[in-house]
Structures are given as structure tokens and as C-alpha cells.
Symmetry: D3
Subunit: 136 residues, 6 copies
């Protein structure tokens, strides 16, 4: 009896899409205004989905309060009100696209979750653009 | 040509998380303020997803009006404006966590649906916490 | 240069609409299933709106973090995961309709706000029903 | 490292559910007020989901701007502010149910996408009714 | 002690913006694709706001169930799944712009409300476009 | 017969709250993590509300397409994917708080609107924090 439990969180951050190995022209042509040298920013909405067996006694898959705290420690404290390119070790060598941010968050949470739980991360960069990553 | 059709519904109910076999201390420590002896409540948002083949003549998978009425009869009439712990047979021996409520709703609907249709239930306890159950 | 600043918050509570001076029949007939003797519940969404002059130096009307903490102390800590009828002094003699809850919240916040600030409270009982109160 | 990238779009259209081979009575009985001879209409919300490998250099799965333009050309320009039954070739012989519209959109986009990308289409006919199609 | 109470409703309708006294060219130039001769459509979201004194005994301004039924009778039954131009007497001589639809709805409801209650109507034609009318 | 017409728009930008005349300690203490030297960012949602008389012939207050283009030219092109502090003349000497951004946007639009139209600007910095400014 497998169930999926999801919790929403969010963080507000600045970023810039830029590949150091590319010329400025190529960066500007490829990333458009997301390449702005002075950065822009987003309210990132995050949904963390954990899948596994319901505990037959408590009726919980995981304690939502615990899951909320894990997301706060591993994601919100790390990225909220930060410049992803300048302030965050995780993006020193990785371009902070929505795709890459989702993978980074997935890895940060995966390492803290019991192996028998599956994990999916959904990240909204804007209300109209979002990505999903489950490690497969 | 398999398609999934979803319909949203909702119900407002009181509940309390509590395991009779546990001491009051353990209940309070485990469930926190969800264990409040006088109950609290939620606006539960429900998404019922039915998957199967489109009828090549009508272009319907199922009639949405019929699906809406089924949810009203089996879920809304049963749980809306109720105390899940006190008013609802289904939770006399089952702790009304979001996980367990989703499973109960899935079973209530599953028994009324044609076997060749798949069923998934998504239940929002709050805007930030939700669960999904598909019977696998 | 007057501006309005709003902050959203929420709390989950059980309640029952019931007038002690009325007979059970009149209560049931007037309040319908909101009169259920065992209570039901809601996710209450709250918007607190404060109006006044922008501080010309800081560019703030009020510090949003301070406003958020005020709402948490005065409203969320008081009503979240509570039974409004049984657990809350404020509703011992007041029927916890959305209208009355909004007025109670307005009074709790009004007494903590500087006199030169105007206050409005918007309370969503469900996504479809909400009330607004500004003390006039 | 497979990831799913989604983009929202929308179009406003009129339509009527009607099967030419059926009698007027059967159409009215089966489709109810969706069979209104003078049409009714919807704000259709569309989510297009593309799945594949992240490009290790750019950190993109696909360029969201390109995906947005593809949806505009293939879907919005074709269906926005149109009468699906009268103005759109695609529904001359197909009943414009939400299910059929989703399949038509899927086919229009599928033919323009690289073969190694998977495609899913989610179509909201109203806030409460939506369908999902992925071609399987 | 004046309070405002709001209830949301919705209806799905087809319409066409067109002034009979204007040439086809002027209509097309002025209303753009909203002038499409075969109509297009929308999911109209409606918020009806009633303002007055809270009843000191019941704690209600108006019974929300009664308000919901009034909206259903006066608005939803009249306009839902209709072609506003062809099926609705109200728009035989009035162009069904969002502005005019809001005024029509306001008048329909105003005639059924007690004089000591104020009335405001908010009508969303799309998620991005909406109008408000209060009779002043 | 006065009506209000609103249109939503949005822009994504980086910013930093900082008063040059204050010490770094005072800035950090007053603005908290909004003072991060490397900036952070938001998806700003904007609602522009114009109030006036409905044109009795066209049934429009203003042409929504025109209003949308005005917002794009005056606001979105100016602030979208920008660093408000570094890239935008408007905030060279003004701290880009939500309050100040709303006033700046109001002034930019006010100068382009006919005098007999009233103007209100609502700016969401996050889903939970928003401000309203109407020039009074």
C-alpha cells in the first residue's frame, strides 16, 4: 500500500544563466535576458514528494512536520534570499537553470532520506515554468 | 489511447489524530497539536483521477457529471461538515491522517468504478500538504 | 502618500455554529450542517491589511517580518489547531461565524497597532466564502 | 538523468458537444447543456510537459522560450478566440471534448518535437475538470 | 459594525463583441479577435460582495447558502453554458463586454437584495482580466 | 456608472534593500536577509486597476489590449529580468521596497493615462506579501 506525500515550500533568490566557457555573445544569444550580468530573480516554489508504505500503526508515511523541517534546513536556509551564483557553493560550477537547481535539491534531500523512500522534486521557477526530477 | 480525466471536489471536516493504544503523552509527543482533544479541522480538496480508453464515438472517457455525482454521493455527503472521528464509521478504528483518508476514499470509489478503469486519489489537507494514492 | 500593505496567514480550526438561546430545531434549521453537534472544520486563510504613510527613509510602511510575527502571536498561536467553541475564550459567548471571527481578529490586532495605521482583516472560511472587516 | 520540463499556456474558445450520427434527443440527453446549439465556451489552461536528458553543458532540457513559441504557433494561434466546431479543421469530424482536444494538441506538438523527447499534455477545461494525455 | 461578505460562483459561456451600428471593418479593427463571427468563450468567475451590519444574534450578515442560491437562480441558471449574444435577452441590445456583463449581473442581484445592503460584483473574464462594479 | 477594470502582469527581478546613509550594521539589523549584498529576487505579480465611466457605445472602459501593451512598455520592458538596484534609473536613489516599487509603477502609468481615469496599482512581492497604492 504505497502512498505519496507532498509538502510545498519556497525560497526567493537571484540568479544568472551563464556558461563560463562560452563567449559573451553566445551566452547572450542562448540565454537571452536570463544572462543579464547584474542578475534577476524568482520566487521559487518547491514541492517535495516522498513515496513509500504507510505505517500501519500511526497512519503516517512520514511526519509532515519533520519533512517541513528537513526542507527548511537543507533547502530554504541554504538558498532563500541568496544569489545562487555568488552565495551558494552548489552553483559555483553548475549553471543555475531550473533543471539544475531541481537536481541539486533532489541530491541534498536524497542523502537525508531513508533508502526505502522514493523522492521526487517539483520546482516552479515561475507560475508558468516548472520542472520535475525523481532521480531516474 | 489511454487518457486520464480528473475532477476536483472538496469537503470541510473536523478531525483529531490519536492512537487509542498509545498513552496521552506519546500521542501528544507524536502528533503535536494535531492531537488536540477537542479536534481541529480542514478544508479538504480532493482530486479524483480516472484513467482508461476514450470512447471513440462520444469522445468521453467517463461522463464528468456522473463522476461528480459519484464523488458527491460517496465522499462529500459522507464527510462534509462532519467530525471524522465521531461521525464517520470509516474512522472508528482508523486514525484519520491524510494518508488514511485518501485510502478510505479510494476504496469507496474503487468499488463503484468499472474494472477496466484505473483510479488515483489526491487529497490536499492544506494548501501545503497533500497525498496521492492509486492502490498499488 | 498613503499605501496599504497586506500579509497572508492561516490557521486550521474546528467550529460549530450554535446559539444557546435557540432550540435545537431552530439551530438546525437556521445553520444547517454547520450546526453539527460534533463540529466540523476549516483551513482559514487570513489577509491582514495595514494602511498608512510610507516612511520616507526606509521605504517601509511597516516591517513585514514584524507584522508576520504579530499575526502569529495574536492569531495563529491562539486559533491554529483549536476548537474555536471549546478552546478559545473569545468564542465562549460569541457564535464563531466567519463574520464574528473576522471582528475578533480585527480587535486583537487593532489593540497592538499604532493609532495612525488603519486596519482591515479579510478572512476566507473556504475558497468560495470570505468576509472583510475594517472597523467602520 | 531524465527530467520533465513543463510550460503553461491558455486559449479561450467556444465549442459544442454533438455527434452528428445521433438524434437531437440522444445528443441532448447524453451531453446535457454542453450540447447547446448556440455553443458555450471556456478558458482552456494547457500544461505541456517534455521529458528527456538535461544537456550537460547548458543545463537546459529544452529552451523554454522555444517551447513557449512552439505552443503559441501550434496551439494558441490555432484555437484562441475560435469556435472549435466551426473555425477549426481539426474538429470537423471529431467531437471537441476535453479528451479529444488534448489528443489533438498532443499530436500537433508531437510532430514538432525531437523523437528522444517524451510529451505529455494536461488540459484544464474548467478549474475542476482536466485531462492528461501522453500518447501511450 | 459594517462587514462585507463575498461568495464566488462561475459560469461558462460563449460570446462575441460586436456593435451592430458599426461596419464589419470597424468592429474587427476595434474588437480584434473578440469580434470572431463564430464566437469564442470563457470560464467567467464571479465574486458577489454584500455589505451591511452583522446580525447581533445569529452572527450572520446574510445566510451564505441563501446568497449562493440567489446567485445560482439569477446568474448561473441564466448564463451558464449559454451563448450570451444569442441565448440571453439581456444582451440582445447590449454588447457583452466584461464591463456590461458585470453591470447586468449587478442589476439582476440588486433587485433581489434588501435596500439596506450594499452590493458589489467582481467578474473575471480570464485570470488576467477582471472588472468591479458597485452601482456608484 | 463607474466601473473598475484590472489587468494582471508580472516581471522577475533581483533587488537588495539598503540605505546608503546607514551603516552596514544598521542595514543588516533593519532589513535582515533582504539586505544580502549579492541581491536576491522575486517574481513580482502586478495588478493595474483603472476606474472610470463605461463608454456607452463600445461597452469598454479602456481597451484591455491597449492597457496590456501600456503595462508591457512602461513596466515589464523596464523591470523584467533586471537588477532593480543596478539596472534601473528609478531606484538609483530610492530603496526598492515593495512600497516604493508600487509608487514608481503608479507614477509611470499615471503619466500615460487620461486624467478622468483613476489608477490603482497592486504589487505582490511574494504570494504572502503585497501592497496597494492609488495616489491618495
Amino acid at each position: 500500500m504505497e502512498i505519496a506525500v507532498s509538502r510545498k515550500a519556497h525560497f526567493n533568490a537571484a540568479h544568472r544563466l551563464h556558461i563560463k566557457e562560452w563567449t559573451d555573445e553566445k551566452n547572450k544569444s542562448f540565454f537571452g535576458n536570463c544572462n543579464n550580468i547584474n542578475y534577476h530573480g524568482h520566487n521559487y516554489d518547491l514541492i517535495v514528494t516522498v513515496t513509500g508504505e504507510i505505517d500501519p500503526v500511526s497512519g503516517f508515511l512520514v511526519d509532515m512536520k519533520w519533512l517541513g523541517q528537513l526542507i527548511q534546513e537543507q533547502v530554504e536556509n541554504r538558498f532563500d534570499h541568496k544569489n545562487l551564483n555568488l552565495d551558494c557553493e552548489e552553483f559555483k560550477t553548475i549553471n543555475p537553470t531550473a533543471e539544475n537547481i531541481a537536481v541539486v535539491i533532489w541530491k541534498l534531500l536524497r542523502s537525508r532520506l531513508n533508502n526505502h523512500l522514493k523522492l521526487k522534486v517539483t520546482l516552479y521557477e515561475t507560475e508558468r515554468n516548472f520542472v520535475e526530477y525523481n532521480g531516474n
